[in-house]
Subunit: 453 residues, 2 copies
């Protein structure tokens, strides 16, 4: 027992402030066709206390006592040293992973879910609407609303709704209401269903439905909640990286070489990486790698443009890497990585050359997930396997170079609700899919006439 | 943040010895029709290093370094103070729960799974067979075998196999092989299927199949692994209670009033309660409550008898509370509590008046599970809801009496793989079932002529 597998923090060692990357990175403003969009324009969508965070350029923002109280339900999360994965790879690299899978919803998502629920309740809101891809966000928000006493309505991308019935049951158990998207409950949903009744749906469509239900509630007591992409979500998730830095210090690590996370909308990746990016901007030599699926290659093959975050064009334009807001990715199992865009903060950091995005095919990722399950023992979510596969690549590179690198990745969620994907992989039923250039070109036509960042 | 929700231990604070209740409690010996069964008789079933533990009356048994190394994959587990459940109940009781749901398999089962895998490997065994009810044990053993490099074959009770396909996928992901029981792979299975092709199966039948495959392997490199009932399983699980005692001390609790666990074969209950029972036998005033489902009321309505642990009568007779080894309980969702017998150590402690068993109906338990999900935030396994419902009863009693009691229960596993039961409960499709006296009488006829303890 000379070695410790897990590095814990006590509750009183948790960070008391979030790190706001917007203080150190100049992102282009939200836009309408007429120009920059002021905070007030968001009032029907988000409560104003969260909108203030969205526009804030304060570097450190206090975490309210009430939010701390909610976070301590399951935080701080342990940092693991992946001794057995290292051994299996025969790498001189020291691999650490931040275990965000131990939350009651099984992923990092509750970090911002309970925070948003708390701010909404403070603002007098009674009901939240949202969308969900793989179901992790929908269950996280149902969990959060249940704890704090808000109603919760979730639009779940149809392909995931059908593939993952247990996610719906999870939301129900916490008292949330879950419907398949596109649905007949909104104008946005009906319009899509009329054109394509068999659509697998997409995050963009589901977002439009959720926003529509929030802004059209005449009581004014409904708001929309978003699980990724926005600045305030990235902000809330920085507890991950801030804890990790303290834990690496406890483990005696003086320097981190590589920081890795999977990125769909960007939130778990931002949560781990932004505090390290702060160090990088202050001179530290760190390679920061967001990993996406090759079938939805937003960061690696999309341009940096102004685009809508939602399919129905209801919200302001945002500067980000995007495949176009009408893009519907093929139905791979990593549902949480099927978003057409990318967090504006993550996008700007990439644009500024501060990060090294990577796209991986799903077979390599599932293979990595199986190796991780059999060595470290925890079955990763399909999304998380992208971070693991990238970590394995870097660990093998360190082996070739004979270098003792320190690699940290975010174990964003467990795969216990996503085993059907593993089943198909083990049965040899999955294949890789390379998105053709012309599909990307075609999808980008919709934003041809938008302003350029 | 004046209050801590979770009490952690460091890895170096983990217990280094198991507590063996057999040192303090005289249990009747294993029997054959000819008399007491010596340790050697078990040689084809278990490796002799585990058989030695089964017969040991040493009070404290060292945990080998190699087992410690495996346990630290996820241990020590946190002890939670259930502030929000207390508040919802308005009780003056202080409620704590030991969170065993954070293991990679989602329950307490890996505590003995990795330990048995380690002892088998030490003994030169290459392959383990086992049975599983709800699937928690089968996935725990697959996990353990995967970490340590053993083959794993699991016979899963058919009713659960059909209701819980994801458990099978979990085993597969860790490399285990899972078949529905009764199967056509064994004589025991074939015999049952011939008589009743539509049987839902039972733990007793599945045990018989797993044992048959182990003892009939002519290479001598296969053994059977059991997830509950035996003395050595209870022994391995005492890390739960030993950690809990240290954590309660850290929380400033000088006295524990009530200790609660659900009991199917008895292992999670034994693991939490035996270290407290040691205190009780040394003068402490503690009420210790094992909780079972009313549909399988082994402890509350079964007699204390000699009976077989398995349906096919392949293993020696053991003194325990039992409903008869041919008893097949109705298919309630708490599959892990559907065993006809009870751990000999737990049984003897009850017989000696040291424990107060309780039987509960499933509607009360699911209701408790929903309340727990919405207050504490974690969705409990259906088995675990029995412990929660009993805790709520005791907390309400403390409220009526106006007493500040300290209640500790074992949160043995999460319910993320068992959401279909919650779905049926929420849809109003579940009913309670009272087992008729004549069914019990009928089932006990099979052991009429057995020796009496």
């Amino acid at each position: 027992m000379a070695r410790n597998r897990k590095i814990y923090l006590r509750e009183d060692e948790m960070p008391r402030q979030w790190y706001n990357l917007a203080a150190d990175l100049k992102t282009p403003p939200y836009m309408s066709p007429d120009g920059a969009v002021p905070p007030e324009a968001w009032a029907p969508v988000f409560p104003m206390n969260l909108v203030e965070q969205e526009y804030s350029t304060e570097r450190w923002i206090d975490i309210p006592e009430g939010v701390m109280e909610l976070l301590t339900r399951w935080r701080p999360s342990p940092l693991h040293r992946a001794y057995d994965l290292e051994e299996a790879l025969g790498t001189p690299a020291r691999i650490y992973y931040k275990n965000e899978s131990l939350s009651p919803a099984g992923s990092h998502k509750p970090n911002t879910a309970v925070t948003q629920a708390w701010y909404n309740k403070e603002f007098g809101i009674k009901r939240l609407t949202t969308e969900t891809g793989a179901g992790q966000w929908g269950s996280a928000l149902s969990f959060a609303c249940s704890l704090i006493g808000l109603e919760c309505k979730v639009f779940m991308v149809r392909i995931s709704f059908d593939q993952k019935p247990f996610r719906k049951l999870m939301m129900q158990t916490w008292g949330g209401i879950c419907v398949a998207s596109p649905s007949n409950e909104t104008q946005a949903g009906k319009a899509i269903l009329e054109k394509d009744p068999d659509t697998p749906g997409s995050l963009g469509i589901a977002i439009s439905e959720a926003i529509e239900q929030a802004v059209t509630d005449k009581s004014g007591q409904t708001r929309y909640s978003l699980g990724s992409v926005t600045n305030f979500v990235c902000l809330h998730q920085t507890v991950i990286g801030l804890e990790t830095k303290k834990q690496l210090e406890k483990a005696g690590e003086k320097k981190v070489d590589i920081v890795i996370g999977c990125a769909g909308g960007g939130s778990n990746f931002a949560g781990l990486s932004f505090p390290f990016l702060y160090d990088k901007m202050n001179g530290a030599d760190i390679d920061i790698i967001p990993v996406e699926p090759s079938s939805c290659p937003t960061m690696t093959r999309g341009p940096y443009v102004y685009d809508n975050g939602d399919t129905a064009e209801m919200v302001p334009l945002v500067a980000m890497y995007s495949l176009g807001h009408k893009f519907i990715p093929p139905p791979i199992h990593a549902g949480g990585l099927r978003y057409h865009g990318m967090s504006p903060l993550v996008s700007k950091a990439i644009k500024d050359g501060l990060m090294s995005p990577l796209a991986l095919h799903q077979l390599e990722c599932y293979k990595a997930g199986i190796l991780f399950s059999k060595t470290e023992g925890i079955i990763p979510a399909p999304e998380t396997t992208h971070a693991i596969a990238a970590t394995i690549r870097e660990a093998n590179k360190a082996k070739e170079e004979g270098k003792e690198k320190v690699i940290v990745f975010n174990f964003s969620g467990h795969g216990l609700m996503d085993l059907a994907g593993y089943d198909k992989y083990l049965a040899g039923e999955l294949t890789d899919y390379e998105l053709p250039d012309e599909v990307i070109r075609e999808n980008l036509k919709v934003i041809e006439n938008y302003p350029k960042p």
